[in-house]
């Protein structure tokens, strides 16, 4: 038995050479890279960026829904919504933990988020004005997230893949409860049906944007695919998602807001209208409908929780002192 090897072999070119060969071997064999393995600096950086953005998305993603906890139409729906928001917090924690194995601290990631230096999924910068938005978020936003996340369970970085397995298991309840909210509204009064359709109209396009820019404008995709972090291209995943939505929309009785949406038999894919990428860029750049509000709320929560973190640390220190004295 020896102590775990140093994460950094920067000072030892021979060890770095062996490490690189081992890394290439692991990737070629579609095996997994673990935290103590040597890895290229760019691989580490890419993962830190991707996993921390993903974690931030889960944490910020609590806000649009927690907005409705106090106004949920029944006690059952309130309990479900609370469970879902609690899940999002848990997902954020799994992902922050995975990112921490790459050598970045939780505090640094939190600082990046609240200082506006880190990104999170642009979808959470849209407001949730009606109860039907809880349905549309579950069905469309969580649906798109699942589509993106299932292949990530096989990401080459072990801790990331393991976090994703856990998240995907819990995520399917999120999508189903959203679908059920919409279904109940669609079986309700005319006003309720309109509310459901309006929410679908507002969330459909942003949920398609969640898969990221078109393949030819996604410069990092090729490298991520070569590293087995990403398994399918943005456009392929978007197609797969739309393919799932079409029959589900029929069951709901809602119309997907795209007049050009049609199955193309010759190409075995859906034809659809051009996505408004200017809107995507604007929201990503911080000029979406709720960017400022989301960050302000996150900062407040962080500041207001400072005394809890201090108290916990102080309590731990005192307990350690007492047990040392005993």
């Amino acid at each position: 038995m020896t102590a775990p090897a140093d994460l950094s072999v920067a000072g030892d070119p021979q060890a770095a050479e062996a490490g690189r060969a081992r890394f290439d071997e692991l990737i070629a064999a579609d095996s997994r890279v673990e935290p103590r393995d040597w890895m290229p600096e760019a691989y580490r950086k890419t993962l830190i960026r991707q996993i921390s953005q993903h974690a931030h998305s889960e944490i910020i993603g609590m806000q649009p829904e927690s907005n409705w906890i106090t106004r949920a139409p029944s006690l059952k729906r309130k309990a479900i919504l609370m469970a879902k928001v609690q899940d999002e917090a848990g997902h954020g924690l799994y992902l922050y933990s995975a990112a921490q194995t790459l050598g970045i601290s939780r505090d640094e990631m939190m600082a990046q988020l609240i200082e506006g230096r880190a990104r999170y999924s642009s979808i959470f910068n849209y407001p949730t004005p009606t109860w039907a938005d809880m349905g549309a978020i579950g069905w469309l936003v969580d649906g798109a997230a699942i589509c993106n996340q299932v292949p990530l369970c096989r990401a080459s970085y072990g801790p990331y893949g393991r976090a994703m397995v856990r998240i995907c298991k819990e995520e399917s309840f999120h999508q189903r409860q959203g679908f059920e909210i919409l279904l109940e509204l669609m079986q309700g009064t005319e006003a309720q049906r309109q509310m459901a359709q309006d929410a679908v109209d507002r969330w459909y396009w942003p949920s398609l944007m969640m898969f990221g820019p078109p393949d030819e404008q996604s410069p990092n995709s090729a490298q991520s695919m070569a590293w087995n972090i990403k398994r399918f291209s943005n456009d392929d995943l978007r197609q797969r998602f739309v393919g799932m939505l079409v029959p589900q929309a029929e069951v709901l009785g809602v119309t997907l807001p795209d007049p050009n949406l049609a199955w193309n038999e010759a190409e075995q894919r859906y034809d659809m209208s051009e996505i408004d990428w200017t809107e995507f860029e604007e929201v990503l750049a911080g000029r979406g409908p709720a960017n400022a509000e989301r960050l302000r709320r996150r900062r407040e929560a962080h500041d207001e929780g400072a005394w809890v973190r201090e108290a916990a640390a102080e309590y731990a220190r005192k307990q350690a002192e007492q047990s040392a004295a005993a």
């Binding site: 933990s97 505090d107 640390a313 731990a316």
Partner: protein, 101 residues
């Protein structure tokens, strides 16, 4: 160098979490978390890893207390069982078709 995730910049220590799904089963590693002390680690582990009845018992272990085999010496360290497939039942094929063997 310590356990991955356990860096000097983290204010709280890292804990490895083990959950027993049911009586009669062993505790299985499910993940890790940061917490100021063992009590808080157990409470946080409950909230984080057992929201859906995944367990009836939780262990938390300070990550620094874990000693690992050297990951780079993998080949040499685990060499002994290699080539000893006679340690597995499937090595013995002559008894094929014989019942209860």
């Amino acid at each position: 160098m310590s356990t991955p995730g356990e860096t000097g910049t983290e204010p709280w220590p890292l804990w490895e979490v083990f959950v027993r799904a049911n009586r009669g089963l062993s505790h299985v590693h499910v993940g890790s978390l940061h917490a100021p002390d063992a009590d808080m680690a157990v409470r946080n582990a409950r909230d984080l890893y057992t929201r859906r009845n995944e367990g009836v018992s939780i262990w938390v272990v300070p990550a620094v207390a874990i000693t690992t085999s050297d990951p780079d010496a993998k080949g040499a360290f685990f060499e002994s069982p290699a080539g000893k497939n006679y340690r597995h039942a499937v090595y013995y094929t002559k008894s094929e078709g014989v019942k209860h063997l």
